[in-house]
Symmetry: C2
Subunit: 285 residues, 2 copies
């Protein structure tokens, strides 16, 4: 397990970075540092003792055994490029970015050879931004995905697994970056595009009084961080674009059955979706 005396620096104290900081604090880690340009976020984390020290000074990263970036993807890449000369030899760098292939390729293209980057994706979030909403219980029901390939050292893998344990993630999975991004393109990005589009298709706010759980469930994630998600969508453009196309094809196929009054055809679609969703429930237990 990661030593309690290890110096851990979290870069970016937003919702996720803050939840990491609080989670490490709850697990007894007292040598955690925070870097953020937002003074208020630093003051908040210090007030509760989640970080030992913090500020906007990048020199705080010096001597860190583990550096965790909780920055947005493009900011993460430029931050590492600018500041990696300060990193301790043999330190482990990890992140929370929601898309992996592009980010990993970029970081690896310039990262010092004596520093190892192990990309991680904590599959947890909220519709709110900022450290004030930090809450490590976000993780208790969530998956923690570690990106592993032939270059991943067992030491780095162990650090990533330890982070998942310390923060009490429910389930730890290892995937390669390509598998990860395809899966996210479908399960997470397509679903968010659907929810957003369902809210945007017409001004339906006047219908609020009539809605039941269905519409509410389908649009809950239409409240979305407008700065982060377009970045993630663009980093996974090809997968997401393909997923939207397939989904549109499926909708049009259903529409065709409807217009042709093909009751049996629609029934088959409903039988298939019911069967899959039930199987899905069982497998997820």
């Amino acid at each position: 397990m990661i030593s309690r005396s290890a110096k851990i620096t979290i870069v970016g104290l937003g919702l996720l970075g803050g939840s990491y900081a609080k989670g490490f604090f709850n697990a007894g880690y007292r040598n955690v540092y925070g870097i953020d340009i937002d003074e208020e976020a630093i003051a908040f984390a210090k007030k509760y003792g989640w970080i030992k020290e913090g500020g906007d000074d990048v020199n705080l990263v010096k001597d860190s055994d583990i550096i965790i970036s909780a920055l947005y993807p493009t900011t993460f890449i430029s931050w590492v490029k600018e500041n990696q000369h300060l990193f301790k030899k043999d330190c482990i760098l990890t992140d929370v970015t929601g898309i992996k292939e592009e980010v990993m390729k970029e970081i690896r293209s310039f990262l010092r050879s004596d520093v190892e980057f192990i990309p991680c994706h904590p599959m947890a979030g909220r519709e709110y931004k900022g450290i004030h909403y930090a809450d490590p219980s976000l993780f208790f029901d969530a998956n923690f995905i570690i990106i592993k390939d032939e270059n991943t050292s067992s030491r780095a893998l162990e650090v990533a697994q330890d982070i998942a344990k310390i923060l009490k993630f429910k389930h730890v999975v290892t995937l390669n970056a390509k598998q990860h991004d395809e899966m996210i393109g479908f399960l997470s990005q397509l679903t968010h595009v659907i929810a957003v589009s369902l809210m945007n298709v017409n001004d339906n706010t006047n219908l609020a009084e009539y809605t039941g759980d269905s519409f509410r469930d389908l649009t809950r994630i239409a409240k979305i961080n407008e700065d982060l998600w377009p970045e993630l969508f663009l980093l996974n453009k090809e997968n997401l674009s393909k997923e939207i196309s397939s989904f549109v094809d499926e909708l049009n196929a259903f529409k065709k059955l409807l217009e042709e009054e093909d009751k049996e055809g629609m029934k088959e679609k409903l039988i298939q979706s019911t069967k899959r969703r039930k199987k899905f429930d069982e497998e997820a237990l």
Copy 2:
């Protein structure tokens, strides 16, 4: 309020009919009859005292002051056509059908002039079928929609409102049939088509272990009654087809922004959906 001694007959003791029977029972009504071709459903309702008497004999409907059909739409129409000669003069007929304009037009085209039909839509359901899942608490959080036009008598309206009160619906709304069907085409039918299509677009059951709440929320209603819903879709073909088209256009517009790497355009979409969904939350309080 509907008198406790009124004879009420529920035709079709499935999930909804059964929940109505149990709800009337809970409210102290002891003169409720049930008609169903399924002996087991009748036996179940009788065992718990939800109905005084029941069976597959249509003569049970005689002398009823209120007839409530909980049949599927097309069965409802043919059942009334075949058995209306047994109806008591001046009785009130109501239903639970999810689509109104077509059903109302059909029923009114042949209904005896001394019987009044007041269409109602209890906006509640489950993914399960059958009286064994009957549960009037389904209604406590739900809307009860009464279809009203220039031919609706105040007596019939009162009966419908009383039913909503007896069954403890949260909210009672009156609409005309056209408004109702347009609203349902968007809020309920389109959302179900989306959920079904998302499950059907590819065999994603292997992804179960990676999913978070988003995908689960969007596909919960993909477990769906395959006999009932195609009927409802066909009865609302034009509205639903139009809704699917508009939604596909919205998805394609988003895809275009993605492919053109229009980050600002995507951001605007996300800001709009967030704003609407928040307003929607407020209005629904």
